[in-house]
């Protein structure tokens, strides 16, 4: 069953020059126990989407969706308070820079114990304090911090970034969430620490059956840790499928370019040869092209690309492009082509 099911979610922003469509009809679904990657370059609206899911966007952003279901409950029909209560019980989020998200004036131990719901504690009121402390230590052990007493009695600036990120994950885990949204959890981190954080998330996914939405700008770092990937470009849905499908048989020209430009995936390339890349850069929000937003940069663009393409589904591999790169054998393709031709001839008769 789908945990989160979003269909055609749009986010608009009020500007002096009218409304701008920042996120344009993006669909996203997360199954139970799945690690889904959300990939897109900066300015593609992936963080906006994450913030829209947990409902922390400011009033100037307007969110519409055709369907917005959380475990079968239609979130759009709930009042704001009901929705907040539901989401804060089930979904937790960790942010990009752990150092700046933790309160610098409060001890780590206090911040952690604040996050523990008193409903989780059993016992009389005089036992509560001790229980809470035990729960904090348990949480720290869960995220792999062994020196708990030292960590509890220190401020965020006294700890390294990787440990701060672990504390953030511990705070997120305190509510025992079903879905964890990780918004670039390892940006500005070293590769050895990155590996540790990803491994911790993978462990949580396997041991607790917790679903994870992993947001990142780099496709090559994600592939090892995710089972399915959704790619976005400039606020539009590009492609979704399993990691193998996306990485080995990309259908959208943009995903193809991302995979081709990755130095890690193309180890067979001779050193110092030219890398495949798209010309130009990501359009800014004020000057978005109409139709498919990749249009001006796309090598396969044709006249029809001025209208936004519909999402087509190839055995669970969804792609939003008028001219997807098909990897079927050439014979099959020609057969299909013939069949279509035959039909049109009939129609004319």
């Amino acid at each position: 069953m789908n945990l989160l099911d979003i269909r055609n979610l749009s986010i608009e922003l009020d500007t002096p020059n009218g409304r701008v469509l920042a996120v344009d009809r993006v669909s996203l679904s997360i199954k139970e126990g799945e690690v889904r990657g959300l990939v897109g370059e900066s300015g593609s609206g992936k963080s906006l989407l994450a913030q829209a899911i947990i409902g922390v966007l400011e009033d100037k952003w307007h969110v519409h969706a055709d369907r917005f279901h959380w475990r079968g409950i239609d979130l759009l029909r709930l009042t704001i308070d009901e929705r907040r209560a539901l989401l804060c019980r089930d979904i937790a989020m960790i942010f990009q820079e752990p150092m700046s998200c933790l309160d610098p004036t409060t001890l780590i131990g206090e911040q952690l114990s604040e996050a523990i719901d008193s409903k989780q504690l059993s016992g009389y009121f005089w036992q509560r304090k001790k229980q809470r402390k035990e729960a904090v230590i348990k949480l720290l052990h869960k995220v792999g911090i062994k020196k708990h007493s030292q960590c509890i009695s220190s401020y965020p600036h006294q700890l390294t970034e990787a440990i701060c990120q672990r504390v953030m994950i511990a705070i997120a885990l305190a509510g025992r969430p079903i879905l964890l949204i990780a918004d670039e959890p390892t940006a500005t981190m070293e590769s050895t620490n990155q590996g540790q954080i990803y491994r911790l998330l993978a462990n949580l996914n396997q041991l607790k059956n917790m679903s994870i939405l992993l947001i990142s700008h780099d496709l090559e770092n994600l592939t090892h840790w995710t089972s399915t990937i959704t790619v976005m470009y400039s606020g539009q849905f590009v492609e979704a499928g399993t990691t193998e499908q996306i990485f080995n048989k990309p259908m959208h020209p943009y995903t193809r370019a991302l995979v081709d430009s990755s130095t890690k995936a193309n180890l067979q390339l001779p050193t110092k040869s030219r890398l495949m890349t798209l010309p130009g850069s990501i359009p800014i929000l004020q000057h978005l092209p109409i139709g498919c937003r990749l249009g001006p940069r796309c090598p396969r663009a044709q006249q029809t690309c001025v209208s936004a393409p519909k999402v087509s589904n190839f055995h669970g591999h969804k792609v939003s492009c008028h001219f997807p790169i098909l990897h079927e054998s050439p014979r099959k393709e020609s057969k299909k082509h013939k069949a279509v031709k035959h039909k049109t001839v009939k129609g004319n008769n």
Partner: protein, 258 residues
Amino acid sequence: MSVLLDVKDITKSFKLKGHWYHKRKFNALAPISFAIEAKKTLAIVGETGSGKSTLAKILVGAEKPTSGKIYLNGQLLQNQRFKERCQHIRMIFQDSGTTLNPSLTIQELLDEPLTLNTDLDEKQRRQLIRTTLQKVGLLGDHMNFYPHMFSGGQKQRISLARAIILQPQVIILDEALAALDPSLRSQMINLLLDLQQQMGLAYILISHNLGIVRHFSDDVMVMSHGEVVESGKTLEVMRNPQHKVTQKLMMSQNFQIK
């Protein structure tokens, strides 16, 4: 090929707070020696605190080495003579957004190194700025713009223009590719490789990303706690990593070369 930059036994140590009789020292760099030829790239990899950035600062002249000598084309580079050094060795920083002065136009930004280091008149300088901007893939008319009008990738190109405008021989890239988006990063790599062929530049690349290191560099130097633990041809080191630090780095990025 002749050696372009020759570094011999560079060390750096910082004085720490301590008692009179217990003066403590922190050795940031153990004696380090290496050499680069023109049109070659040396990559320096290592964890934070391994002394990569200290080494870069010493090469560019922002810090004085405690001991050791740097030779450029066989000539000794003196520590105090920045004018000579800044023409030959230039540096690009990680975050191009914060290293460009927001209150100056691109022309004024690029004009500064020219007025300080060359005898060109105003017309020649303007022409040089125009051609340099075109060389890095921007338009000549961009020189009247301010830095905030550019995107991240374009800003990085401007920093590159500022680095190459004095026709240097060595460029130091201190994590210059880390903060860019993947598609812009590969554009930038292509541009850097083209410029290397055209101008005969030598690069010193400081990076975490082993994929880029493999693609971009000829030689690699792995550092840990101020010491070089492994060095050699990039492909040979990556095919058969000997030291524990190198193996750990490659493991953490799931990086393997057959």
